[in-house]
Structure formats: C-alpha cells, structure tokens
Symmetry: C2
DNA sequence: CAAACTTTGTCTCGAGGATGACAATCTCGA
DNA sequence: TCGAGATTGTCATCCTCGAGACAAAGTTTG
C-alpha cells in the first residue's frame, strides 16, 4: 500500500473516525488486490468473504429486484468500505459486487477481521457503525424514492452515480432504466428532456452531467 | 416484568440468540413503560433515547417521504426490539415511533446501555447484529418494491401489516394508500378487487386478511 | 337520538407510462 | 474497412393512475 492510499482511506468519514490504533490494526490484516474489469468480488447468496475498501477504480453493487430486473446499481468510489453486513452477521451476501474497469481494492478476510477483533473487541463496534451508516443510506433512499415522480427519481439516480468520479457515467440506457424502475423508452424521453434543458449530455452508453446544481434543483421543484 | 414477558422476548430471533449472560445484563438495565394510544416514543430528528422492545400491544414506525407523505408504516409486534440504529451510532432518529393502542414496552436508555456495554463490550457486537437484521429487512423491502406493480406492492404491504396480530389490520384507506405510495381512489379499486377474489374483507378503517396463501400467490404471479 | 364529521365507494377526465416496432447510430472484431 | 450486433431515438396504441367531485355509509359527540 502506498502513501496516497492512506490519504484516500483517511478521508472516508467512517474510517477516518476510528481511533488510530484500531485503524492500524485493521490495515495490518488487509491485503491489496487488483481486479480486472468485470471481476466478481462476491455474488448474491455467497458466504461472507470479508471486508473491502476501494483504493482506485470503481466497484458496482447490484441487487436483483423480485421481478428479475437489475436493481440498485450503487457505485462505490475510492475510500469507501463495503461488504460489512455479511462480515458482521455471517449471513449470505445480499447483492453482487463487481469491479467496473480495473480496480485496486483493500481486502480484510473474515478470519483476519476476527483475529483483529479478538485483540480489540471495539472493532466490532466500529463495524457496527459502518452498518449504521449504510442503513441510513438505505433509509434515505427509500424516503426519497417512494412516491416521487420519474423526473425526480432519474435526477437522483444520476447524482448518485456521478458521485463516483467526474460527471461522466458509463452505463447503458437499458440498465439505467432498470435502476430507476421504468421502461427504456420512457427513460430516453426524460433523458432527452434533461439534455434539451442543458443539464446533461447523452452519448453512446454514457451520460455526462453538465449542470449539477440544475439537477439538484429538479429534485426540489 | 412478568414471566410471560420473558417467553415473548426469548422467542425473538435476535434476542434469543444472545448468550444468557448478556441477555440478563441487558434486562437488568431495562424498565417497563406503559404508553397510551398515540403516545410518542421518539420522533424523527430526535437525539437517541435508547433501545426499546414491544412486550404487548403495537408500535408503528413512520417515515416521511421527501414529498411530505407518510411512508413506511412498519408495524412492530411483541418480542421485537427497535431503536437500535440511533442508540448505536448516536445520530438523530430517522423516523417516528408511536404506540398504536395501549402498549407495554421495555426501555433501555442510552446511558443504561452504555453502562452495560462498559461491563461487557460484546454487547456492542450484539447491537450491531440487530442493525444488520434490520438492514437486511430494508434491503429486502427495496428489492421487493422497486419496479413492482401496485397489485403486488399492496399484497406485500397487507402481509407485512398483518404479521403483527391476527389477520385484522386497523388502518384508514388513506393511510394505507400512503404506505403503498398511491392515491386513495386507486387503493380502493385494488382493495375491492382483492375482496371480490375472496382474499380480504374490507370494513370501516379495517382490512381483514381471509386468504393469506392467496395473497402470497399474488406476489409471485 | 340526531347532527357533525369522517371515511368509503364510485364516477369521469386528463396525463403519462408500458409496450411493440423499426430506423438510425455506434462499437468492435474479422 | 466492413459487416454483425448492440444501442439509441422515436413512433402509435393501449392501459392504468391521479385528481376532482360527490353520494353513501359509518362513527363520534352533544
């Protein structure tokens, strides 16, 4: 692990809030892994394989909705930890995680985490706090989605997805439509309307955010 | 606390899985509280006031959706613990909790929990597991809601709500419509259709489930 | 018991999404 | 470079939801 990695990790609100001693202990158990585009980190239903953090690149978490369509493409950006739910409770993974593009990850296997936590049980509390943070994200998502118009939900999905990098989102419209929960044709109509309003630029398998404040405005209008 | 209360608590899958020693320690810090109909246990935005469990009666958790409508009326049944999220991470409550009808609750204030956890840090891990369980519920909810037809979402909402007792759900159609995220008139149309199919019986401010397997069938049809 | 209020049941109409179809555009490998 | 395959852009049609309106049924209160 290089020095810039430490800076990236320290900037995360969860990891950054952990006392330095336990942070060190966790990093001692971690190994860097480099993954190819599309590599599977874990899959829905798998037994837990530990805790992960993104150092570089992009990881996408994908759930399957009940009717088979791909669901919440949460895009994880560098500095963010994930995979804590199954690591803490030992139950199967609730979704898929895969590298999008080449990605460098930090990996703390279950046994390694258990070893560190045996030395310092407070690590369980820390991990619990990470679950809390993600639980709050899920609750916010529910509150912001239910009963909102398609226009608003699309704006939210775009903003969530663009968090991960510059304003460029590489995604097929078919997939984006699945995330918002609408038909591809309907998505296209709304996307084009955003484009006419100067909020985004639409290209092949890509959406670029041009006016982030404008998109934010859509949500509250 | 009476003996039947112990049986109710032990039947809960979270509490029942905790080792007896820590279970006792938690109960030593708990006090019974009896609340009137409509009494506020905590409100959205409040600072944490501890951990709660339902001994008798009904508690409803209500979120507010972004457009102001009431959202996820999760009905908590006896034996279930709630309020762990803010108790663990110290942040404001994400929703309202209120007694529906008279309710007997078990209350572990934040300071009391901290006291117990100071004696046995593993309690933090236990509380983390409770967050995990509720996180999985939230994820399941998202997966089952997004992109589903109104008919399916209504069936799910009815089944969730009826868990709390016999098949009788006391709720105004206006409120139920808010839970499903549709207009009252639309709810009424679907409810009447369910009634024609012999799945439910509709009365004033009440829905009674007649055919639970039939409702389950609606979800997968 | 009767009036005031709440809730339900049912119209109609307008708006907007789902679906199937098909041409245009783009990407990638031979 | 060219062609196959994938993806986007845009139709027309059907269907269902949302909203307003209002009568009917139920509940509460004096």
């Amino acid at each position: 692990m290089h020095d810039p990695d430490h800076a990236i990790l320290a900037a995360d609100s969860w990891f950054g809030a952990i006392p330095a001693g336990r942070r060190e202990r966790l990093l001692q158990e971690a190994r860097v892994e480099v993954l190819e585009n599309g590599a599977r980190i874990y899959g829905s239903g798998d037994p837990p394989n530990g805790l992960w953090a993104v150092l570089d690149g992009q990881v996408r978490l994908k759930g399957l909705s009940a009717n088979g369509a791909e669901l919440l493409a949460l895009i994880v950006r560098p500095g963010t930890w994930f995979g804590e739910l199954s690591t803490l409770d030992g139950h199967p993974r609730p979704h898929d995680a895969m590298a999008f593009g080449m990605a460098r990850l930090l990996h703390v296997p279950v046994a390694a985490f258990a070893r560190a936590a045996a030395a310092d049980p407070e690590l369980y509390r820390d991990l619990g706090l990470l679950v809390c943070a993600h639980q709050r994200t899920a609750l916010r998502f529910i509150a912001q989605s239910v009963g909102q118009s398609i226009r608003v939900r699309l704006a939210q999905a775009l903003m969530r997805a663009s968090q991960a990098g510059d304003g460029r989102i590489t995604i097929r419209q078919e997939e984006l439509a699945g995330v918002v929960g609408i038909a591809r044709q309907t998505l296209n109509r709304h996307l084009k309307r955003f484009e006419r309003d100067g909020l985004v630029a639409v290209a092949y398998a890509q959406v670029r955010i041009l006016d982030l404040p404008g998109l934010r405005g859509v949500i509250t209008e």
